[in-house]
Symmetry: C2
Subunit: 239 residues, 2 copies
DNA sequence: GGTATAAAATATGTAGTACATAATAAGCGC
DNA sequence: GCGCTTATTATGTACTACATATTTTATACC
C-alpha cells in the first residue's frame, strides 16, 4: 500500500520544493484524503520523501496558502476545503500583472457581466433591486457625477459590484473583488483617452428596470449594449 | 529573536510567514518594483524584517509559486510577470474542492460560455470554424456517440474547449483547463441522475452555423438554449 | 597581448540541529 | 473526582553549515 519513494527519479530540472509539492498532492489524491483527515507529521513526510524538513515545510506552506491544508500547534495538519481563489487574492496584485493579462482580465469582466444574466434572475430578491435602485437614484441626483470622473467611476463600480453579489456565487464574487483593481486601472486609462463619458445607450436605470420587469434575455442584451464602449475598444484593437 | 515584553503585540494569530509575505508584497508595491527588477538577497530581506532566513524563504517560495518572482542561482531574485492563474492551476484539484465550490465553478462555466459570444465573433478565424465543423461532423458520424456517454462527453468537451481557445484570451483558456475536471465531475453526476441525453434544442451543429453566419447575439442566445438542461438544474435547486 | 583555463566569490538551494510555542495528555496531591 | 503541575508532542522559528551554479577574477600559456 505504501509507496516506495526510494525509486530513483533524479530529474532535477524542476526545483525540489516543486517536486515535493507535487508528490504531496499526488499522495493526498492517491490515498483519497478527505476534508478533516490528518496528514502525517512533516518530519515523517520529509523523511519519506528523502528531503529536509525545511523543503517539506516550504511545500506545505504553499499548500497552506492555497487553503488546502491547515495546521495547528500540536494537533498536526489536516486537509481543508479551499475555494478556488482563496489565498491567491491576497497576494495577486495588478501591479505585477502584465499588460496582456490586464487586457485578458478586462475582457473576462465583459464576458462575466453579459453572461451572468440568467443566474441573476434565478437568484434575485426584491431587496437586491431596491439596492440597485438606490445606487442609481443616488447616482442620478449627485451633482458631482457629471464633473468628477472619480465619482462616476465609484458609482459604476458600486452598481456592477452588487450584480456580482446578487449572483450568490461566492467564487464569482471573490473573482470580481480580485478584478476590481484591474478594472479600476483599465477604466481610468480609458477615461483618460477619451474625455467624453461615452456611455452606452443603456443606462444603469435601464438595467434596473430590465432586471425588475424584463427577461434574462433582455437583461443580457441590455448589458451588452451598456458595455458597448468597452467592446468597441476591443474591436478597434483587432485591426 | 529576543522578545519585547514592553509592547503588547496585538493578536499574533496570523502566522509569521503570512506577515512576511504581506510585508514583502507591500515593500515591492511601495517601491514600485517592475518586471525584471532585482530583489534584495533573501538574507537581507530576512534581517530587515527581523525574521530567520527560513521564514523569509517560505514567504518567497509562495511568491515564486505564484509566478511573482523568479530566482536564479547566483543572480538573485527578480520580479516576474505572472498571469492570474499561474501556479494555482498546478495544485488546485477538484478532489479538494467542496461541493459548494464545485457548484460555483459549474455556474461560472455557464456564465462564461454564454457571455463570451462577442469576443468569439471578434476573434474568430475561418480556420476555427473549420475545426468546430470537423468536431461536429465526427460527432454526428460516430456510432458510439448515442450509446457511450463517455464518448459523448468527450465530444462535448472537445467542442466547448475550442470555443475557449477561439477567444484568444489566455487567462480564459487556462481558467477553462482548470475547470475541466470539475466540469467532468459535474457532468458525470448529471448524466448519472438522468440517463436521457437531455440535450437542449440547439445542437452543436446549430452553434457552428450560428457562429459562421449569425450574429453575436444569435450565438449568445443559442448557447443559452444549448445549455438549458444545466440551467434547469439550477432552477430546480433554487426551490 | 590574447585566449584558455583555473580559482574565488556570491546568492540561492538543501540539510541538519536546536529551541520556542501551544495544546493535549499524564501524573499527582488532596 | 478536582485542580494543579508536569511531561509530551507537532508545529513554528532561528541558526549554522554546506552544496550548487554562475559570474568575476586571476593565472598560465602561447
Amino acid at each position: 500500500m505504501e509507496k516506495d519513494s526510494k525509486s530513483i527519479k533524479p530529474i532535477k530540472n524542476v526545483p525540489l520544493v516543486e517536486q515535493v509539492e507535487d508528490h504531496i498532492m499526488q499522495y493526498l489524491k492517491a490515498n483519497k484524503f478527505k476534508t478533516g483527515d490528518a496528514l502525517p507529521k512533516e518530519i515523517e513526510l520529509a523523511q519519506n520523501l528523502g528531503v529536509s524538513r525545511n523543503v517539506a515545510r516550504e511545500a506545505l506552506s504553499r499548500l497552506r496558502m492555497l487553503g488546502i491544508i491547515e495546521s495547528k500547534k500540536r494537533k498536526g495538519m489536516v486537509i481543508s476545503e479551499p475555494d478556488l481563489l482563496s489565498g491567491v487574492e491576497r497576494v495577486l496584485d495588478p501591479d505585477f500583472l502584465g499588460e496582456g493579462t490586464m487586457q485578458n482580465i478586462f475582457e473576462l469582466r465583459l464576458v462575466l457581466e453579459v453572461g451572468m444574466s440568467d443566474i441573476l434572475f434565478i437568484r434575485k430578491k426584491s431587496k437586491d433591486i431596491d439596492i440597485l435602485q438606490d445606487i442609481v437614484t443616488r447616482e442620478s441626483q449627485d451633482p458631482e457625477c457629471t464633473d468628477d470622473i472619480k465619482v462616476r467611476l465609484a458609482y459604476e463600480i458600486e452598481f456592477h459590484s452588487h450584480l456580482y453579489r446578487m449572483s450568490r456565487n461566492n467564487t464569482l464574487q471573490r473573482f470580481q473583488s480580485m478584478l476590481l483593481p484591474v478594472f479600476h486601472y483599465m477604466m481610468e486609462q480609458e477615461a483618460r483617452l477619451e474625455l467624453k463619458p461615452k456611455k452606452g445607450s443603456i443606462s444603469h436605470q435601464d438595467l434596473v428596470d430590465t432586471i425588475k420587469n424584463g427577461t434574462p434575455r433582455d437583461f443580457r442584451e441590455n448589458m451588452r449594449e451598456h458595455l458597448t464602449p468597452h467592446y468597441q475598444k476591443l474591436i478597434r484593437q483587432k485591426s
